[in-house]
């Protein structure tokens, strides 16, 4: 599955989380919509591992404010955000049009 769609990103992220955090294959509660942090699938240390995976695999930088996006809690939401980071330039997010330097 290519990484140029949210679906492809979500699939890769789901595989990573299942493997990294040892989610049982028959865990019915684990879905792409479940809140990963509140449901305990990923703990506070694991969040950092998820971020490293996203950045290294999808060649994006996860800005700190993104971590607090209401969507950055479940696989589908994270995939949408990463897809957006891959396809949208950051200046669009600044209302004044001021450049967001990426360093």
């Amino acid at each position: 599955m290519p990484y140029d769609t949210p679906e492809g990103l979500a699939q890769a992220l789901e595989l990573f989380i299942r493997h990294q955090f040892q989610v049982p294959p028959r865990d019915d509660q684990f879905t792409r919509a479940v809140n990963l942090w509140e449901a305990g699938y990923v703990d506070s240390i694991g969040v950092a591992e998820v971020i490293a995976f996203l950045e290294d695999t999808f060649a994006v930088t996860i800005p700190p404010e993104t971590l607090f996006d209401p969507d950055f809690v479940h696989i589908d939401g994270i995939a949408r955000i990463v897809h957006g980071l891959r396809t949208t330039s950051r200046p669009d997010r600044a209302p004044s049009g001021q450049a967001y330097a990426t360093g």
Partner: protein, 440 residues
């Protein structure tokens, strides 16, 4: 939390070795370029004649800065999150300025702009090759010399203190302070015995020898368990974090900060004390490991390669105020020299960290015989565990008294008027919550 008075954290900024005002840099026409060209630890908030609020924070986020906006458009900021709660803002209306950012707010237009003016570039490329270490050591030595000369120009007339554990990082700071700034007092934390017995910890013994080697006064700070426990709320509130590693460090620093504050009052000096510490070095070289105590593991780390881990650890300096926030509460200004030259450490190849005794190798290449041999030979120790051979310190005291990670979270939530299950909305992956859009 209302009614708790906080200090304002001091800013330190330099262009070259020349001290400058951080707020003046932030007020220049091209604030991003001005701030990027400076070295410092600062956070600023000023209001333009147009009514625009401009908030900035240093590249690593050493100084913290929080802001809140209410429905009427009132914008306030503080170095301390609890100050804003005390001023009547709800916890979920409080946001942090991310490291290396300028945030501009125009409340009348409900407009927020978000500009990253500086990042720290890490060398993620590769292995160590012959000659690499020597070249990097030269650059680090030059950078540290520049940093200490700059601090010396800021320090004029102040009493200087160094937080000294007798390990590589703080001993390097002590040696360079003695050489490039001058006289200072070495301050070392140690836990007293259960009956108040003055049993010297490993840190105490090493630090005392380093101080003697440098010919500077040595001031041990020895606290019993009860005294440490009395500082837990201070560590949580002014350390602005509930994660055990940072709380355990903040406890050590609270004890040291209080002692320096007391010493300083007796000195009669009209200028605030200036403390130099070896903090941030461990993040810059990913020199952390899990600590086992009574069958449990503490200070677990993300499972990442060392080169990748250090980038994460450094970015995670955003959240947690174990040094600046805590020391400032006791009226002590603190400067972290390693943070001021983080770029030369970030340039180290990740291959270095995969070699045994990487930090010893690096420090030896940088400092050579200026560091006493016993310090190179000493096994790794952490101030909050008291020594390398046996785990003690603030970690042991808290665990022995039932104050584990869960208890710290519960107490933090109480002190900050937060729901415990919402803590993760305020610190996540080492970052305080921030926003790139106007807060609703």
């Amino acid at each position: 939390m209302s009614g708790r008075a906080s200090h304002v954290v001091s800013n330190f900024a330099w262009v070259g070795e020349e001290p400058v005002s951080a707020i003046d840099l932030a007020r220049t026409h091209d604030a991003a370029a001005s701030l990027a060209a400076a070295m410092g630890q600062f956070s600023t908030h000023h209001v333009m004649p147009s009514g625009e609020h401009v908030l900035t924070r240093d590249r690593l986020g050493v100084n913290k800065l929080f802001f809140a906006v209410d429905r009427s458009g009132r914008v306030e900021s503080s170095n301390y999150w609890v100050d804003l709660i005390g001023r009547g803002f709800a916890a979920d209306t409080i946001w942090s300025i991310p490291p290396g950012h300028i945030v501009r707010l125009v409340a009348a237009d409900r407009l927020l702009t978000f500009e990253q003016y500086a990042t720290l570039e890490f060398n993620e490329a590769g292995p160590m090759v012959d000659g690499d270490l020597s070249d990097h050591a030269d650059r680090i030595r030059t950078a540290l010399t520049r940093v200490f000369r700059a601090i010396a120009r800021t320090a004029g007339g102040r009493r200087i203190y160094v937080s000294l554990s007798g390990g590589l990082d703080s001993t390097t700071i002590a040696v360079l302070t003695r050489q490039l700034i001058g006289e200072f007092t070495a301050v070392t934390f140690s836990v007293a015995g259960a009956d108040g017995e003055r049993t010297a910890s490993e840190d105490y013994r090493y630090a005392e020898r380093v101080a003697a080697h440098l010919g500077v006064p040595f001031e041990p700070v020895m606290l019993g368990a009860a005294e440490v426990l009395d500082l837990v709320d201070t560590a949580l509130v002014y350390g602005q974090d509930w994660r055990d590693f940072n709380v355990h460090c903040a406890l050590v620093n609270a004890a040291i900060g209080r002692a320096i504050g007391d010493l300083h009052k007796k000195s009669g000096s009209p200028l605030p004390p200036l403390l130099l510490t070896g903090d941030v070095m461990n993040e810059l070289v990913a020199d952390y490991s899990v600590v086992a105590y009574k069958g449990r593991e503490f200070y677990r780390l993300p499972r990442l390669a060392p080169g990748r881990l250090r980038r994460l650890l450094v970015s995670g300096l955003d959240a947690g105020d174990r040094e600046v926030g805590v020391f400032t509460h006791f009226g002590v200004d603190v400067v972290q020299p390693y943070a001021l030259c983080a770029d030369v450490y970030a340039a180290l190849p990740p291959g270095l960290f995969e070699t045994p005794h990487a930090k010893q190798q690096l420090v030896r290449a940088v400092m050579g015989d200026r560091i006493p041999r016993m310090v190179y030979d000493r096994p790794k120790a952490r101030a909050q565990t008291g020594g390398a051979r046996e785990v003690g310190g603030t970690l042991a005291i808290l665990i022995e008294h039932g104050i584990d990670q869960r208890a710290l979270e519960a107490r933090f939530a109480t002190l900050y008027d937060l729901e415990e299950n919402r803590l993760g909305e305020f610190i996540r992956a080492g970052h305080y919550r921030s926003t790139a859009t106007y807060p609703n």
